[in-house]
């Protein structure tokens, strides 16, 4: 009976130690291994490559069909520093008509602050003179509500038109600066 009692005790302790102690180590070991980016299956890599190539060709086809160069206008938004302005939303008007409105998540604002550029609008206009106005809404210096606009006039030619909206800090004025300019 004593031998059996000791065996029983050892078995129970082993069960408890196994369950309570080593489980986290094994799981955490797996997490670290996962961080090392386990290799994806070869078939998955081949499928993804083919799919991406197909998507690339469709994106180009879609742009050619829906936004041909002779009528294409693309509007981009960039941001630098962002100390004096926290962006909430942007509204874009083309020749007086609202063509797009975008509300920003924290992640999107962060991507802009880190150097990303958002393609805010892609559309078509006739060749000739046009006027684009962007309204920026957010929080300005001292956490006050802030709404500013930037306007640009441009001549649409047979080539695609690229317009860059930019938000920058003016350290001399302690104010944000908003601009709209034609790219090439």
């Amino acid at each position: 009976m004593v031998i059996m009692h000791r065996t029983m005790h050892a078995r129970l302790l082993a069960a408890l130690i196994t369950l309570a102690a080593t489980a986290p180590l094994a799981a955490a070991g797996a997490a670290a291994e996962a961080f090392a980016e386990a290799s994806a299956g070869g078939d998955l890599e081949a499928v993804k490559s083919d799919l991406l190539a197909l998507k690339r060709d469709l994106v180009i086809l879609e742009e050619d069909l829906l936004f041909p160069a002779s009528s294409q206008v693309a509007v981009y938004l960039s941001m630098d520093v962002g100390e004096f302005f926290q962006l909430d939303s942007v509204t874009v008007e083309l020749d007086g008509d609202e063509v797009t409105h975008h509300l920003y998540t924290d992640r999107q604002v962060d991507a802009l602050l880190r150097g990303g550029v958002q393609r805010l609008y892609l559309g078509n206009v006739n060749q000739g003179r046009h006027r684009l106005t962007a309204f920026f809404t957010g929080r300005g210096p001292s956490e006050r509500d802030y709404r500013r606009a930037a306007t640009v006039e441009f001549e649409k030619t047979f080539e695609p038109a690229f317009i860059e909206l930019a938000i920058r800090d003016s350290e001399s004025k302690y104010q944000p600066e908003f601009s709209a300019a034609i790219g090439n």
Partner: protein
């Protein structure tokens, strides 16, 4: 920090006055997707830019970005090809470091330590790039692989702050020390890890695991009070709660505080669902009760544990039959794809309960989170997303084809207008006419007034021209039909009349030249109009023809081929998943059988002891 990061991994876009060129904007859109962790979109942007030849004056940044995004997307072949395509001789010092960083990641992934060493040397550990947390992590991992604990310690000690990479590095250092039997050093690594204040959820998970590992190591080194302190720092909720409680109870039993242990085991048993810690509690509670001299209660609890383990075993056996069913496994995968947060988390739980209430959602979720299963599940989800997108593709292609047909029609109409209006021929005739008039005008402006028929005819109006012709004809008649004085008289008269016409033309020469200039300008305008119309129609034709050259049959075939590949890969993942789940079920059944056996032995022993203590009351 922003500059530091982007300098090493990808080149930054710097603010400039005015708008940037389109290649800068395109590169920026790729970064925008990348910084939002949408690596697939980022890669697509770069691939489209390459195809569009919008790489500008700095194509290297696109090549490095393509490789980096492909690596993040686990497209390792594409990443390697992108990096191999970079012409090293064209790189400046910073781009060389960027390339070294990306190659180091690839060598680390393949655990090619020598190649990793060579690339890390390019990064120079003393430089800013060399102190990047991910670089330090790779250096520490390389040192651990070479069993150089001191180097790993030094490298991680130099990483400041609470970076996620530091969390993973410290955990792996602790595990390596523990495996090497140096529990004191392992405690040091886990203790530093436990103090980190990381921000991402996965890194926070590693910190929690580090704390558990610290508690286990502290107990192993004979320091249960430290272990309890650490366990007390774990969150009162979440996946580590049960583990922490089980650790507390175990520690209490070691200190022979069976009353506390029993209370903790009871707390664990109050919860819902199944976990390894609760399985331990079913045995731990009666064991503690035995030590508290409550043998009858202990026996009841052992019997209850026996029933629980029997039921669990039956549920596991039923589940083992289910995982052989592909439809059921597909349902499990779809349920697991439901987001885990908020109301979606409740819905996922409900779906898992509906699939298998016996084994329980906690167990299924735990198995789905295991490394071997998790990888397959993630790949399955990725493939499932692809399959969904591919299912919408025929409609998209049909729409594109309709647009193409319409564009072709418009292009043909523009071409037809060019042909029908014979614009090219009209333009050639006008151009010839204009050239002749311009030459005539230039010649008349150069020549002085002369009383000869050729000069006068060029400036004469219709009446004058006719008169001049008649006078010329009359002069010829006089020469032929008359003689002597009559000829002289008539010839003089004809000269007088011609002289009158000449003087009229000569006097009016400037006005007549202006009229000729006006006609030339009119012809020029006409020609410009025709040119404009031809240009508009040609541009319209080319505009409508843009994109219509697409071969929809070829696109459809490609989509069909990829759909087939995706379906085959999905089948393979489902098969793999069934096998992995069956393996985990088998292991769980083995553990449960062991617990059941333990419970039954304990019941027999407790029954014997009770019978020995009071034979008449024994059951």
């Amino acid at each position: 920090m922003k500059t530091f990061l982007c300098e090493l991994i990808l080149s930054c876009l710097m603010a400039v006055p005015g708008a940037r060129p389109v290649d800068d904007l395109t590169y920026g859109t790729a970064l925008y997707a990348y910084y939002q962790q949408d690596f697939s979109q980022a890669l697509l942007e770069v691939m489209v830019a390459g195809e569009r030849q919008r790489l500008g004056d700095d194509p290297v940044r696109f090549q490095l970005a393509r490789g980096s995004f492909a690596f993040k997307e686990r497209l390792y072949r594409m990443a390697a090809e992108s990096f191999a395509a970079v012409d090293a001789s064209e790189l400046d010092a910073l781009d060389r470091k960027r390339l070294a960083f990306h190659l180091a990641r690839e060598h680390y992934r393949r655990r090619d330590w020598n190649a990793l060493d060579a690339e890390l040397a390019v990064l120079d550990p003393a430089s800013g790039a060399g102190r990047h947390p991910e670089v330090a992590f790779m250096q520490a991992e390389m040192a651990l692989a070479r069993r150089d604990f001191a180097a790993a310690e030094r490298t991680l000690a130099a990483v400041a702050g609470n970076d996620d990479h530091l969390a993973y590095g410290l955990f792996n250092l602790g595990v390596a020390y523990r495996e090497a039997g140096d529990l004191v050093a392992a405690r040091g690594a886990f203790a530093r890890l436990g103090d980190l204040r990381v921000h991402s959820e996965p890194a926070w998970d590693v910190v929690q695991r580090g704390r558990l590992a610290l508690a286990v190591t502290a107990r192993s080194t004979g320091d249960p009070s430290s272990a309890e302190t650490v366990l007390g720092s774990l969150p009162a909720r979440g996946r580590y709660r049960d583990m922490a409680l089980a650790g507390f109870a175990r520690s209490a039993m070691e200190r022979r505080d069976h009353e506390l242990a029993a209370r903790i085991w009871l707390t664990l048993l109050e919860g819902d669902g199944w976990s390894p810690s609760r399985a331990a509690a079913h045995l731990g509670l009666p064991m503690s009760l035995e030590r508290l001299a409550a043998p009858a209660h202990a026996l009841d609890r052992y019997r209850e544990a026996e029933r629980v383990f029997e039921r669990r075993l039956a549920s596991l056996e039923e589940a083992a039959d289910r995982v052989a069913d592909p439809v059921w496994v597909e349902g499990l995968l779809e349920a697991s794809a439901t987001a885990s947060a908020g109301s979606d988390g409740d819905r996922r739980r409900e779906r898992l309960v509906a699939l298998d209430a016996g084994v329980g959602p906690e167990t299924w979720l735990e198995w789905l989170a295991r490394e071997d299963v998790h990888r397959v599940v993630m790949e399955w989800r990725e493939l499932d997303d692809m399959a969904r997108w591919l299912r919408t593709l025929p409609d998209t292609l049909a729409t594109f084809q309709e647009i193409t047909v319409e564009r072709r029609r418009r292009a043909a109409r523009a071409r037809g207008a060019l042909d029908d209006e014979a614009l090219a021929r009209r333009r050639d005739a006008l151009a010839a006419e204009l050239a002749a008039r311009e030459a005539e005008l230039e010649s008349l402006e150069r020549q002085p007034a002369r009383m000869d028929a050729a000069w006068m005819q060029r400036l004469a109006d219709a009446g004058e021209a006719e008169l001049l012709e008649r006078l010329q004809s009359m002069a010829a008649g006089v020469d032929t039909n008359t003689s002597g004085a009559e000829r002289a008289r008539l010839a003089a008269r004809i000269r007088r009349l011609t002289g009158m016409v000449f003087w009229r033309i000569a006097d009016d020469r400037s006005a007549r030249l202006r009229e000729l200039t006006r006609r030339v300008q009119e012809t020029r305008r006409l020609l410009a109009d025709v040119d404009g119309r031809i240009d508009r129609l040609t541009r319209a034709e080319s505009r409508f023809r843009a994109g219509v050259e697409a071969d929809f049959t070829a696109l459809g075939s490609r989509a069909g081929a990829v759909t087939g590949q995706v379906a085959a890969a999905l089948d393979a993942r489902e098969r793999e998943l069934r096998l992995a789940l069956a393996r985990h079920l088998e292991e769980e059944m083995a553990r449960t059988r062991e617990h059941l056996l333990t419970a039954r032995i304990a019941i027999a022993r407790a029954t014997d002891r009770l019978a020995a203590a009071s034979p008449e009351t024994a059951p």
